[in-house]
Symmetry: C2
Subunit: 109 residues, 2 copies
């Protein structure tokens, strides 16, 4: 992830779900989008992303379908399910809590 490995733990799933909020995407695209939207802060590795996608799909948080690209290549698209949206809500509120905790400690005087 280019950043301290540890920092990413726990937020990767939220970031992936967030990406899918704006539309279905395939894995490779998510990596590019995440980099773009974060202003190049996040360079998620494939070895990180694909297991996350598989786990989320197994848990019914995502569904997937294959679709042929204009180039002729097959791409595996992922779609947020209702359950996935709920999970995203929980992840976001956990992030809020965590974030506010860190900021409180950092700005303590």
């Amino acid at each position: 992830m280019k950043l301290d490995k540890g920092l990413m733990a726990g937020s990767s799933t939220m970031l992936v779900l967030t990406l899918l909020e704006s539309g279905d995407m395939y894995g490779y695209q998510m990596i590019e989008e995440l980099s773009r939207r974060s202003n190049q802060v996040f360079q998620m590795q494939e070895g990180t992303l694909y297991p996350i996608l598989h786990t989320l799909e197994k848990g019914k948080y995502l569904s997937s379908y294959e679709q042929q690209a204009p180039t002729g290549r097959m791409r595996k698209y992922y779609k947020l399910t209702r359950k996935g949206r709920e999970l995203l809500g929980e992840k976001k509120s956990e992030w809020e809590k965590f974030h506010s905790g860190v900021e409180a400690v950092l700005s303590f005087s």
Copy 2:
């Protein structure tokens, strides 16, 4: 930690170092202080904290000394070294970067 375990990874060291910025502390006290300053968001476990302290001391980021409490009990105080302050600076700037990345992704429209 009470929060998603993963979220903590990577920030615990920064939080511990930050506590010591305001003065020497002993382990048990750090757990209470961290909880207090974070408005009860963080309840660090002893099994998390002590290994962190030992690793930081081994790396010369902290030094320690024993001191008797008014109660008569021995407490092991930790103190930030110059090297520790430098590490804290790096950790803080990494947190800034990470934080800005997450916020950028979350607020993307």
